[in-house]
């Protein structure tokens, strides 16, 4: 089956020769949540704006549902939903009017009432856009992106401005949308969001994709070492180095950190029990996407 999105050798140079995106290629399959993960200014938004047809690429080709978004926008109307980072609605437009308007882009009748309730805007249906809080605006924009029941939806930093509870609700709702077959392109700089939601992640740094895989796949490939941590009284723990799979053993105060691969927890636990030790705080710390990101880019996302 044809991929929903195909990007080949995309390049975008702004004036003053600022290269925002350099030779980016990727495909997004139907029904997956595809993440573009990177720090601010890495080129994620420029990439996705080229895919949406909001910017003209300097070079390369972009196809969405088989169409060129720049020149055949009318063919994509209602089939593509977008939530933008910076946008606004007219101050005196009411919430329900916005949903009704954007719903009219889709063929057939769209039930936006359910969407209104799902995204917690039921009580705000008659409120002016200008009276909404940042989080409410954000939720309205997500709802607007979804209102035409698009085949593919772009969410650019969708949980920015949402409180923790609203964030989790948003994640659940996006998963439900994916489960109904909608393809989702998620632009984010939140590692936990990418790890939780994305089926595949492209790590974007300085205008290029430097790695692309499932979140788990990225971890396995780039940061395969697990850590097992426990407290113990023993002075000498060097013998743990002989346990198969262990790469290093470090003592940090009362704590011992064992790094290695394989079924590390089980092996370390067995070795400790053999020595008559049974620490009650033995646990494994799996490497996270954040560790991978740090390793790949050499800097933290906030930089």
């Amino acid at each position: 089956m044809l991929p929903v999105i195909t990007v080949e050798h995309l390049r975008k140079v702004y004036s003053h020769h600022v290269v925002a995106v350099d030779d980016v290629s990727f495909e997004v399959e139907r029904g997956e949540i595809f993440g573009l993960l990177g720090s601010n200014g890495a080129g994620k938004t420029t990439t996705v704006e080229c895919v949406q047809g909001l910017r003209t690429p300097t070079a390369g080709t972009v196809r969405v549902l088989g169409k060129d978004p720049l020149h055949h926008a009318a063919d994509l109307r209602g089939r593509m939903g977008c939530q933008l980072q910076e946008s606004r609605l007219p101050d005196h437009m009411k919430v329900w009017e916005a949903l009704d308007l954007f719903a009219s882009l889709a063929p057939g009748v769209v039930d936006w009432q359910t969407l209104l309730e799902q995204w917690g805007l039921g009580e705000k249906r008659n409120a002016f856009f200008s009276s909404l809080s940042g989080g409410q605006r954000q939720r309205l924009f997500i709802a607007l992106a979804l209102v035409s029941s698009p085949e593919v939806v772009f969410l650019d930093e969708m949980t920015t401005g949402l409180d923790p509870a609203a964030r989790r609700i948003a994640w659940d709702l996006i998963e439900q949308i994916r489960d109904r077959g909608t393809t989702v392109v998620l632009v984010t700089h939140f590692m936990d969001e990418a790890e939780r939601l994305c089926d595949r992640v492209a790590v974007v740094d300085r205008g290029s994709i430097i790695a692309m895989d499932t979140p788990r796949g990225l971890v396995v490939r780039y940061d395969p070492l697990e850590q097992v941590v426990f407290s113990c009284e023993l002075e000498d723990v060097e013998w743990l180095n002989d346990v198969p799979g262990v790469c290093s053993v470090t003592r940090r105060g009362p704590r011992v950190v064992v790094e290695g691969t394989g079924p590390l927890l089980a092996r370390v636990a067995a070795a400790l029990v053999d020595r008559g030790e049974a620490p009650d705080d033995l646990r494994v710390i799996e490497p996270s996407l954040e560790d991978v990101f740090l390793k790949l880019t050499g800097h933290l996302v906030e930089d």
Binding site: Q52, G53, L54, G66, K67, H72, A73, A74, D75, L76, R77, G78, M80, G81, C82, L84, E86, S87, R88, L89, P90, H92, M93, E97, D100, L101, F102, S104, L105, A106, P107, F141, L144, S148
Partner: protein, 267 residues
């Protein structure tokens, strides 16, 4: 490539009715937005009526010895059609540019564009909305004048309607062009207000052309409202069609409309 082309053509064929649906929906929303805007109420509805009141109380509508100043008709017969033109001018130069620049700089257009709302639907809804507001404003002005002063019925309602549509089109095109070139809503508002007052005073809509100095008349010749006033007064008083004014307004509508479509940038 060829198969790609045919499928795209077929897709476009299906999507066209959707565009019209969006245009109508957007026009209806725009109309409501206009009515929620105090500037609209003041300049399109209240201000023309207040000026009509002032003029009516000053000159009355009797055929006095001064009647020749007002083309040998009563002052209010002279002003009623003129103020219909003023209403269309107010909608065009004050409201449209303010709105379009606000949409562009504030990210509203980006929002629309990302959802693939066609630009002709966005601009079209503004123009259609402006036309409907113009009708409401014109009805208010005429109703006021007819209620309180003995204004006679228009000599040709058909020509008046045609002239009104032409005036609205010309000023909507000017407004759209201003909205396209002005950098910010504040700049658009400033320019709009200046144009509004210059045209209000120098186009024969307040000071009759007959008593203006030569210089003022000559400046007036460059102002679109002069032609709007002439066209509508001709239709109302005497039922004549001023071809020169009509062609000037049509020219403005076509040229400004074309330019604004070329110049207008999405945010």
């Amino acid at each position: 490539m060829t198969t790609d082309g045919t499928s795209q053509a077929a897709g476009r064929h299906i999507s066209h009715p959707g565009g019209l649906k969006v245009l109508l929906k957007l026009t209806w929303i725009e109309l409501k937005l206009f009515l929620r805007e105090p500037m609209t109420i003041v300049f399109t509805f209240a201000f023309p009526v207040v000026l009509m009141f002032v003029l009516g109380e000053t000159f009355g509508n009797r055929s006095t010895t001064d009647a020749h100043v007002f083309g040998d008709v009563g002052a209010m017969n002279y002003y009623a059609p003129a103020y219909i033109a003023v209403v269309t001018m107010s909608v065009g130069v004050i409201m449209l540019p303010a709105r379009l620049t606000d949409y562009r700089s504030g990210g509203v257009l980006r929002r629309f564009r990302a959802s693939l709302v066609p630009i002709w639907a966005v601009l079209g809804s503004q123009v259609l909305g402006a036309l409907v507001l113009g009708v409401i404003g014109a009805v208010l002005v005429v109703a006021f004048a007819a209620t309180f002063y003995p204004v006679h019925f228009p000599d040709s309602l058909g020509l008046l309607a045609a002239g009104f549509v032409l005036c609205s089109a010309a000023f909507a095109a000017i407004g759209t062009l201003l909205g396209a070139v002005m950098p910010s809503p504040r700049a658009a508002q400033g320019a709009g207000l200046m144009l509004f007052f210059v045209m209000l005073f120098l186009s024969g809509a307040s000071v009759p052309t007959e008593v203006m100095s030569d210089t003022m008349t000559r400046i007036g010749d460059f102002l679109p409202l002069t032609y709007g006033v002439d066209l509508l007064q001709g239709a109302w008083i005497g039922g004549t069609w001023d071809w020169v004014s009509a062609l000037v307004l049509l020219g403005i509508a076509v040229v400004a409309g074309f330019l604004s479509l070329r110049v207008y940038r999405w945010g």
